[in-house]
Structure formats: C-alpha cells, structure tokens
C-alpha cells in the first residue's frame, strides 16, 4: 500500500464526513426550502448517513479492500 493512498483514505473516510457534519450543518439551519419534503437540516443529516457509508467504502477500496495490511 502506498503511503499517500493511506493519507487519501483518511481524508475521504474521516475528514470529509466530520467536515460535512460539523462545519457545513450550521449553514443549513433554516426552515426553508424543503428538500425531498424535509427542512434542510433534516434532509442533510439523513443524506449524510448514506454519504458517510460511501466515503468509508471509498477509503476501504483505497486501502486495498482491507486485504492488505
């Protein structure tokens, strides 16, 4: 495993989800507009559950599917 791939995996799997939750969320704290029927923050937190899985999956692929250690 290349060292820089490991670094990218940490950025995508760890830094990105934390950034999206902690830094971006406050900007969505408003009543409108509804997105898919939900106020922005409700939509955002729900969406991030899927996004975080996707980020971790990318990290997992970057790390060679966990087979290589």
């Amino acid at each position: 495993m290349m060292p820089n791939e490991k670094g990218i995996a940490v950025i995508i799997g760890l830094v990105v989800p934390w950034f999206l939750h902690i830094v971006v969320s406050p900007f969505l704290n408003r009543a409108e507009p509804f997105i898919l029927g939900m106020p922005p923050l409700f939509f955002w937190i729900t969406l991030l559950m899927f996004v975080t899985s996707l980020c971790l999956y990318i990290a997992y692929r970057l790390e060679g599917g966990g087979a290589v250690e």
Binding site: L14, P17, H21, R30, L36, S53, G66, E69
Partner: protein, 489 residues
C-alpha cells in the same frame, strides 16, 4: 380474541424465541474465557454488523428519540453523530483489534493495565466504566418495562416487564456469553428494522399523506420544531455541534463496544462492518418522523417519551402496538445484554483477577457468569426502585465514558503518555463534568452547557490539557513500546 390478547401473545412469543435462541447459541459449548467474552475472535461480517447495530439502538432509540423529536424538534438531529462515530471507528477499531489479537486483551481494562503498566489505573478505569454502565442497563430496563406495560394495554406491569426482561437476558448471557448476544441481536436487528420501516415510517403518510405534508403541518403548529435551537429554544448550534463531536468521539470508548471489536475474526470483517453501519442508522429517521407527527397533530403528552407509542396508537389498529412492544423489547435487550456482559467482564477480569492473580481460565469464566447474575439483579433493583428520565441519564453516561478517550486513543500513538497523565486527566475530566452538570447553579452559571457547549466536551478538553501537560512534564512510559510495536506490524 381481543386486541390486548393478541398484543400480549406477540410479546410473549418474542420473549420466548429470544430466550431459546440465546441459550441454544452456547448451551453445548465449553467456553474458554476468550470464547465466552469475545466469541473466540471469530465473528464475521453479519454477526459483527448486528452486534454493533444492536448496541447503538437501544430502548432509548424508540422512546427517547421519538420523545425528543416531539418535544424539541430539530435538536434531535444530533443523532447524526452515529455516522461520525463509525467514521472514527473505521480508522480506530483496527488498532484495538490488533492489540487484542497480539497481546490477548479481552476488555478495555486489559489495555489500561498493559499499556500503562498499572493495576490501580486499570481498576480505576474499570470502576468508572461500571459506574456509568450500570445506570445505562437500568435505563434500558426502565424503557423495556415501560414499553411492555403500554403495548400490552397495562396487562404487563412495568415491574413485571423489568423482571421478565432482565431474567431472560441474564439467562442467555450467563449461558452463551457474546455468542448468545450475537445470535439474539441477529433476530432483534431484523425486527427493529421492520418496526421502523413498516410501521413508524408509515405514520406521517397515514396522518398527513406524506413527509412533506407532515412538515408543512408542523410549520403551522410549531415552526420552532424545524430549526435549531428547537421548540424550547435551549439547544442552539454550539450545543448541536458539541454534542455531535462528544458522542462521535465518545461512542467507541464504551467498554461494551470493545467486546464486539475484539470479537471480529479479522480486520477485513471489522472494516466492512463500519463501511455498512452508517446506512443502518437511517433507521432512526422513521422514529424521528413518528415523534414529529405527534407534535404536528398538536397532541399534548404528559410524558414526551410516549410520543412513538402515541404515534402508532393513532395510526394503526391497536394490536399493532404488540409488534412495537416486541421491537422495544428487542431494542432494550440487544443493548443491555452487551453491557451486562461487559460489566461482568470488567469485574472478573480487571478486578477479581487482580485480587486473585493465579485464577485459572475456568475459574474466571465462572466468576464472570456469577457476576452476570449479580449485576443483573442489582440493575433490576435499581430499575424498579430508582427512576429518572431517559435521555438525561444517557447524556451523563456519555460524558463520563468519553473521559477514557485520551488513555484509550492517545496511548496507541504517543509513547510519552503514562499512567499519571491518564489518571490525572480522567480525574480532571470527571470532576469537570460533575461540577458542570450537577453544580452549575452554584458556580453562577445559567446552564450546565457553558457557552452553549455540551458539558461533556468541556470535560474532555480539560482532560486532554492535563494529559498533554503531565505527559510532557514527566518521563515517557517504558511500557508503551510493546503496544505501539504490536499495532504497527
């Protein structure tokens, strides 16, 4: 057959199935301590997934989450921390697993004992863990008793519900250890998933014709529900972010999560579990929507924790409550059984074993099983005779458990951290949260959340500062090399 009889029968059948599966999982085995506590480090993706999923969603997920959504609205979205916890866990848990595999750890206390070379520190850690985990079992039991009481139309008293739930757990945990918990959690996870999506998700559609329509109605009734700081105006953006940070970091400090991490058969299974777990957490959204529906209907509840049950009651034929009762039982036992085993493991492995160092493996298995029974009875008595509202207890526990963070995370990477630093930091953190939570008015503060930031995070900040200062001021720990070596190779 009356609806109440159907509901009680459903619950009864479920309790029985849980008991049988839990006992069968381990009755024929002769367990070594490793087999009993961490299932011989042999669990694959499916069991890992249901163990972890069962642990994050407890009785609290049904009652507390719905109740908060009903009472406060948007602040409940802090539950998004679960995704953050798994993101952290993906990168962290592999070190715990490697250390466990190579150095034979079975509990968090083992790490503290070995890494910092100090029995008193390990005992201190174990005691703090136990002190915060027993209320957590109690909380689950109260939730369980309450759910069974309501969903059986009062046929099962709260007290009987608590006794039945605890007895069932005690029997299958004592018999089958982590294997029993893994097998029963498999059943529980499937049921909880069905309850969330087939029943609770339908609630806003039945009452308002859709999620969007429900939110429109809520906007008319109580627009404050839609944004932070919520309907009571007390939980603003700083609270929201600090709570997510606290819970996201603190989640993997819960000692019962360590048993499931250490139970994994390899790092690949561990990683795949964490990749898939954030998707499972979407299951909490229907619970939130059900709670909000009750708020949008303008229903006044004397106990907010009834919101989810109320939502089902106003949307479905009443016997459906029986299925929710099964789900509530599943949620409570899947969490509480893991904690029960962990508390017992800390008692036997990290306290009894230091008092009696020569204890054989067989003796420790026996000691753990006896501890399971004793702890179960203590928690049962507490649940029956000592009350308390659900979420506040959970948040206090979280703040306390999170104080393990520097010792359990920094210790893997920084050889200067030693027993003095960890002990002093943990003490400072615990004092901080206790002062802020219980004595804030004496300190002249208007809330325990100083500057709107969750008190537990203040504790963690104080803890970190002490750990860093003491580590830099004292000698590096000679014990550190072994662990740091073990996780690198």
């Amino acid at each position: 057959m009356s609806e109440a009889v159907v509901a009680v029968s459903l619950i009864f059948i479920w309790v029985l199935v849980t008991l049988v599966v839990g006992v069968l999982a381990g009755i024929k085995r002769k367990f070594s301590l490793e087999g009993y506590l961490v299932s011989g480090r042999a669990l694959g993706l499916v069991f890992m997934y249901v163990l972890m999923a069962g642990e994050i969603y407890s009785a609290y997920a049904f009652l507390g989450t719905g109740g908060w959504a009903y009472s406060y609205g948007a602040p409940i979205l802090y539950i998004g921390y679960a995704a953050l916890a798994y993101s952290f866990g993906y990168f962290y848990a592999k070190y715990v697993w490697k250390a466990g595999k190579k150095l034979g750890y079975m509990t968090q206390g083992d790490l503290f004992r070995d890494r910092y070379g100090s029995v008193p520190l390990a005992v201190y850690m174990a005691l703090v863990g136990i002190v915060f985990m027993i209320p957590y079992i109690q909380l689950q039991l109260q939730g369980l008793g309450y759910i069974l009481h309501v969903t059986s139309f009062g046929k099962i008293s709260v007290r009987l519900g608590i006794i039945v739930g605890m007895t069932v757990m005690m029997i299958y945990v004592a018999t089958s250890g982590l294997r029993g918990i893994a097998w029963t959690n498999l059943l529980q996870a499937i049921l909880m998933f069905l309850v969330a999506w087939a029943i609770l998700f339908a609630v806003p559609f039945i009452k308002f014709g859709g999620v969007s329509e429900m939110f429109q109605a809520l906007k008319q009734v109580s627009p404050q529900h839609l944004t932070l700081p919520g309907a009571k105006g007390t939980m603003g953006v700083p609270w929201f972010l600090s709570t997510m940070i606290l819970c996201g970091l603190g989640f993997f400090m819960w000692p019962h999560l360590w048993l499931s991490i250490l139970g994994a058969k390899d790092i690949r299974a561990l990683r795949r579990t964490y990749v898939l777990l954030p998707i499972y957490t979407v299951f909490i959204i229907p619970v939130v929507l059900a709670g909000l529906t009750v708020a949008a209907l303008g229903i006044q509840l004397s106990k907010p924790d009834e919101a989810v049950l109320k939502a089902v009651e106003v949307s479905f034929p009443t016997w459906v409550l029986g299925i929710v009762g099964m789900g509530g039982f599943a949620a409570a036992t899947s969490t509480a059984s893991g904690i029960l085993l962990t508390v017992s493991a800390l008692l036997s492995k990290n306290i009894y074993n230091y008092i009696k160092p020569g204890a054989s493996d067989r003796e420790l298995v026996l000691a753990t099983r006896i501890a399971v029974i004793v702890v179960a009875i203590v928690a049962m008595l507490l649940a029956i005779f000592a009350g308390g509202r659900l979420v506040a207890l959970l948040l206090l526990g979280y703040s306390g458990i999170t104080q393990f963070f520097p010792g359990a995370v920094l210790g893997f990477f920084w050889d200067r951290v030693n027993k003095w630093a960890v002990g002093a930091g943990m003490t400072g953190g615990l004092i901080t949260i206790t002062l802020l939570k219980l004595f804030y008015s004496h300190l002249g503060l208007s809330s325990s959340n100083l500057l709107g930031i969750h008190f537990g995070l203040w504790g963690l900040i104080v803890n970190f500062l002490i750990v860093i200062a003491v580590s830099l001021a004292s000698k590096p720990d000679p014990n550190a090399a072994k662990l740091i070596e073990a996780i690198r190779s």
